[in-house]
Amino acid sequence: MEKNKNVGAIGVIITIIILVLLVIFTNKSTENTSIIENIANVVVVPIQNGLTYLKNKINNNDKFFENIETLKAENEQLKQQNSELEKSLREFEVMKTENEQLKQQLNLAEKYTEYTTIPGTIISRDISNYSKTLLINIGSDNGIKENMTVIAEEGLVGYVVSTTPTTAKIQTIVDSASSTSCLTSTTRENMICKGTIENESTLKATNLSIDANVIQGDSVETSGMGGIYTKGIYVGRIKSVSDGTNKIDSYAIIETAVDFDKLETVLVIVQ
């Protein structure tokens, strides 16, 4: 019985370790070093250090270690200085974060001076893997109503679907149930941008006309049709254009200007 319990506990621990490793490796940026490189580093670096130390010893290059007493005193002094610096650094970090948040709110308000806006902070994100709705900390008490457009410093975020006195629910443009009427800024081509479940930072633009002239890299903004979104709000850039099996099926992929993963502050356009 005792043995079974131990086996169970070991199983749970192993599962936790595998889960954590899975989460770390699947979310790791591809630009970083590969797993094999990391393993090689772990194995090779200590050996390399040891060999270098030996080489220095043999070549009489270890004069640094002669005066141990002086070094010890110096070390103590440096440790003290280090702790003082660390304390200052922590204070600086707090001030920096505070400053950045205030700057962000100020920039947002200045950028969209033609609109009357209210800033809000995201307090909750969707629990499902298919929906991308957000909850913000301002509601009907602050003058927020349904169907109001929500923006961020970089561009369009979504619109308000419902409100309570203190919160508002936002359906983002990357939500798979969302459809936004847009047009390209240079060629003025109309399109419907829909969210996908595949990617949180791209939209699929469909309903392109047969002779549509859609250019890669062109910027996309709201067309104002549909009655929800205000006209001329920046949505993103065309990442790629696909022809499909025939001209009617052609679609474009749009990279949203807003990074929804890192989004913290939004502005609700009230007028």
């Binding site: 899975l22 629990i127 298919y130 909850l135 798979s176």
Partner: protein, 177 residues
Amino acid sequence: MKKLLIHVFLILAFIFIYLLQSIFFTNFTIAGVKPNLFVILILFIGLYTGRSIATIYGILYGILIDLWIGKTIGITSVCLALVGIIAGIFDKNFSKDNRLIIVFVGALSTIIYEIAVYTLQIFVFEMNVEILAFIKILLLETIYNIFIIIILYPLIRNFGYEVESEIKGDKILTRYF
């Protein structure tokens, strides 16, 4: 009194899981995919308290989730109630002492729940059908849920039998003996 405490605990567990799911698991993902702890919670309610209570909790939790963060009320309720019914069926036909069976039921419930949610959403919101992306999310979410069931199983089993003896009382079938 103890029954009331159990129900209070189940409501508190829901709030705790909601916070975990909407704050912690939005960052702690496997390739961008979150687990679904609500399916696991309803599954265990169904396994240890029976079909009726699990279905009621499924509907209740679903309404709360939809009210707080959902786009429409009903879809999550129906699908969580479905998980409650599945758990009730397994409660009557299988032993809960076998970890493998629990893992299998957990995976099956997650798959059925996600297929039901996605299908309903396609019809209600006129969403584009993205089969490959859906299968990828479904597989990763199922794997994630399996990991969590394996980790939590010893804890839930001990608590589950307490709940079972209190709620079901003398209605517990004699199949174990």
